[in-house]
């Protein structure tokens, strides 16, 4: 089995869960002897001279271990000095001429009100990916999230191979009801053009069926897995937090989707009846400023800690210090972070509006808007130690059963079913 896979980010160039998921999935596929050609845009700091570069497993793109069956192909980013929006159009024109009907779908994309970098990049990526795929041999095309759908469609058309699109998040998760029409259109087009759609949860599958008009039998659920790393002991060094204080952690992008304001409002309720507790918001995002202001307005500024975006060791360190992790997401297709927290022995409260709540039983669950219940549960964990102990022990065991290997196997099964019917 050979897969032409289209992604947008990959470790170590990560801004979110998508890269982590692609990494986990391809690594597991590698172990199953599935050949993967992974195609992604190169990031700003790369200085590749040519449009296409083959990276071997030992080069800096593969972060750990050896991936014998995965090769990476990167397409230089528009963020590089030579590329402008004009240049992109020129380039695309040439590409369109050079190609068969393959890129017709791309041309049909309507409004250009979204003329930022993302838009140009997405279509440029599509054109080049299709070009690049001509020299490769593969059985299926597998595209991750909307940025890669035009590319997926182009490659599938040019090669005549079945297309699978993998939904890690939808525009409705990211933007609520204020969807970006262009992004929605691309998502919809990708899903309808695909032979099979993979959703990361039933939560997301329902959105796909109800909001994008797909027939239910076309959409499969494949849950994400989690990488299991042993954690060394980390010394609790100098911090602003006393040992007699409990720590409740929010970790993630501070954006509308992640529900930071619900965390703050619940914190306020907790602090009304408890004193020896601090709330930490680790992460950054467009609502960061607003969150800081809101903490001040609620009068809990002295009990809130904003750490900004945390890297590697600092993340592990904050997990070591935390007594409880809270994910109050408004709409979370899957949600890997609570699994990470459990892997680090931190019990979790998760919103019911998340995919991970479908697979995690040993977690406390609340509706994201129910701040009374969120506060009730936060206090319960801090006040009744056996609760945290039981959640941690069972939760850790449960995350051990969520493996990328199973996700990869399920994908392979979907590929094979497609190849039989095609």
């Amino acid at each position: 089995m050979r897969v032409f896979m289209l992604g947008w980010e990959f470790p170590p160039f990560i801004s979110g869960g998508l890269g982590t998921a692609c990494y986990g999935l391809t690594k597991a596929m590698d172990r199953l002897n599935i050949k993967v050609i992974f195609c992604l845009p190169a990031t700003a700091d790369s200085d590749y001279a040519t449009h296409v570069k083959l990276l071997t497993p030992s080069s800096k793109l593969s972060t750990s271990g050896k991936l014998r069956n995965v090769v990476f192909r990167t397409i230089p980013s528009l963020l590089q000095p030579y590329s402008t929006s004009q240049g992109y159009k020129q380039h695309l024109k040439e590409k369109r001429k050079a190609q068969s009907q393959g890129s017709a779908a791309i041309c049909s994309i309507g409004p250009t009100d979204y003329s930022g970098d993302m838009y140009t990049e997405v279509h440029r990526y599509a054109a080049i990916a299709a070009e690049l795929a001509k020299d490769e041999e593969f059985d299926v095309v597998h595209a991750h999230d909307w940025m890669t759908y035009p590319a997926g469609i182009a490659v599938a058309k040019a090669s005549g191979k079945p297309l699978i699109v993998h939904i890690h998040s939808t525009e409705f998760d990211r933007s609520g009801e204020h969807v970006n029409q262009m992004v929605y259109d691309i998502e919809r087009m990708g899903m309808h053009a695909a032979d099979k759609v993979i959703a990361v949860s039933n939560f997301t599958r329902n959105i796909i069926i109800s909001r994008y008009g797909l027939s239910a039998e076309k959409v499969e659920v494949v849950y994400n897995g989690i990488e299991h790393n042993g954690n060394g002991n980390i010394n609790l060094g100098e911090t602003q937090i006393g040992k007699d204080e409990k720590i409740v952690l929010f970790l993630g992008r501070i954006t509308m989707q992640k529900g930071p304001e619900y965390f703050l409002m619940a914190a306020k309720k907790v602090l009304d009846v408890m004193d020896n507790v601090k709330f930490v918001m680790a992460g950054s995002g467009d609502l960061m400023q607003r969150a800081v202001e809101m903490a001040a307005e609620l009068g809990i500024g002295q009990k809130m800690l904003f750490t900004g975006f945390l890297h590697g060791e600092d993340v592990e360190r904050i997990y070591r210090m935390a007594d409880l992790f809270v994910m109050p997401s408004v709409s979370e297709p899957f949600g890997l972070v609570p699994l990470e927290a459990l892997g680090n022995d931190v019990p979790v409260i998760i919103s019911k509006q998340s995919g991970v709540s479908e697979v995690l039983r040993h977690a406390l669950k609340v509706d994201f808007w129910d701040i009374d219940e969120m506060a009730n549960k936060i206090i319960a964990v801090l006040k009744y130690p056996p609760l945290g102990v039981t959640l941690r022990d069972h939760g850790r065991y449960e995350t051990g059963k969520l493996r990328w290997k199973d996700a990869a196997q399920r994908c392979a099964q979907i590929y094979e079913e497609l190849l039989v019917t095609v």
Binding site: D372, A375, Y384, P386, L387
Partner: protein, 417 residues
């Protein structure tokens, strides 16, 4: 001789209402839900089953005999929500063919945590049974058939009982059969009646299981299995939840028809009869001694107490509950004491079980909570409130301006008023 000894366990827990750390009212129970479930089960099970059994008793003119163990908590709820059920139980008692067993009034695990509390609850239950049905129970069954040597010794020492019922678990019987009367180790007079779990569970659990090789179970087939005991046993103890009829096994499975035909089929064999537990204890002498140093129960395949006390939350909740005993009783406040006792209902701890949580399973059907964690949080919030009521209660006399030199009895009278 093969005597069939039926004993039906009747119980409905009191479910707590959603109680957060921000609540501070002293109404802990979900009256609406408890009433709704009680009347539902009354209509699906208690009423039709009582009617059927009453008819059978009349039809067989004393040859069909049964026993019940009804928890105080069930009787209280029936009195409040479905009094017509109580009158049918009374009619059953009047026939003289129905025996009532003794147990803890609150369906509690008190034997494990407080012997005093345990004995008080047993007395309260016996008084209630005598008041309602005019019988002094002579047979004891502990909550969920939880049993060990110490329990048998304690029950014998009260001098009020002829026999005690327990699970005929393989690990306590070894090669021996449950179809005889035994003597608990360390007892001189008390007899031990062991549940024949294979035949009991054929009715209680497997009756409607279409994957079971013996499905469908008919009365004559079951009677043949019972008759096969003749020659190598005296008694077949069929102990099961009364809710088996119409609730665990719905009416459309044919469970009522099965029961309707069973006496006739059993009595076809000249050596078979029906006996109540007291009659079994009178009729047969022990054939050996049973040694049960560790706790057993009738729950799950493990037949142990892990469904109630298997994880850290359960153990913490129940220890905190019994730790309050002295404080609660010192208030002499009947309402506070009753609330505390209602929190002892074993179901509260069953809801916190994580054993089968991952697979769904039988535990799920009876659980009003989404998860064992939610049930623990709710219970602990209630317990904390109850604890604070005790503190408030003991502080009250000083606030009322009562002089401190008055002795405790005086205070208690004041509070009692």
């Amino acid at each position: 001789m093969a005597s069939v000894c039926f004993y039906f366990q009747g119980h409905q827990p009191l479910r707590l209402r959603h109680y957060t750390v921000f609540d501070n009212g002293n109404r802990y129970f979900d009256d609406y839900k408890n009433a709704a479930i009680c009347t539902k089960v009354a209509n699906k099970c208690y009423l039709p089953a009582n009617r059927l059994l009453l008819n059978l008793i009349k039809k067989y003119d004393g040859r069909f005999r049964i026993a019940y163990s009804l928890t105080g908590i069930l009787l209280e709820q029936l009195q409040q929500y479905s009094p017509e059920v109580l009158s049918t139980f009374d009619a059953l008692a009047e026939t003289g063919c129905v025996e009532f067993l003794a147990e803890t009034y609150y369906h509690s695990l008190s034997f494990l945590y407080s012997r005093d509390e345990f004995l008080e609850q047993v007395s309260k239950h016996m008084e209630t049974i005598e008041y309602l049905f005019g019988q002094k129970p002579r047979i004891f069954r502990n909550t969920e058939l939880i049993y060990n040597n110490d329990l048998a010794a304690l029950i014998e020492s009260t001098g009020k009982f002829d026999a005690i019922a327990s699970e005929g678990a393989d690990h306590i019987l070894g090669f021996r059969s449950p179809n005889f009367v035994y003597r608990p180790k360390g007892c001189d007079k008390l007899k031990l009646l062991l549940k024949n779990y294979a035949l009991s569970d054929d009715i209680a659990f497997r009756f409607s299981d279409r994957n079971w090789s013996q499905w469908p179970l008919t009365a004559d087939k079951f009677a043949q299995w019972v008759s096969a005991v003749n020659g190598n046993g005296n008694v077949v103890n069929l102990f099961m939840d009364y809710e088996t009829f119409g609730e665990h096994q719905w009416a459309d499975t044919g469970i009522f028809d099965f029961m309707n035909h069973l006496p006739q089929e059993i009595l076809k064999h000249p050596d078979n009869d029906f006996k109540t537990p007291s009659e079994v204890a009178r009729s047969y002498e022990p054939v050996g001694t049973i040694d049960v140093p560790h706790l057993t129960s009738w729950a799950d395949t493990e037949r142990d107490v892990s469904a109630w006390l298997g994880n850290a939350m359960q153990s913490n909740a129940i220890h905190e509950l019994y730790r309050l005993e002295k404080k609660i009783k010192n208030t002499s406040d009947e309402i506070i004491i009753a609330d505390w006792r209602k929190l002892q209902i074993s179901d509260h701890f069953y809801y916190m079980c994580t054993k089968y949580f991952a697979d769904g399973d039988v535990h799920k059907y009876f659980n009003p909570y989404d998860s064992p964690y939610d049930s623990y949080i709710n219970f602990m919030n209630v317990l904390h409130n109850l604890g604070s009521r005790c503190s408030a209660r003991t502080a009250e006399p000083a606030l009322c301006g009562l002089s401190q030199d008055k002795g405790r009895p005086g205070l208690q009278t004041q509070i009692g008023d």
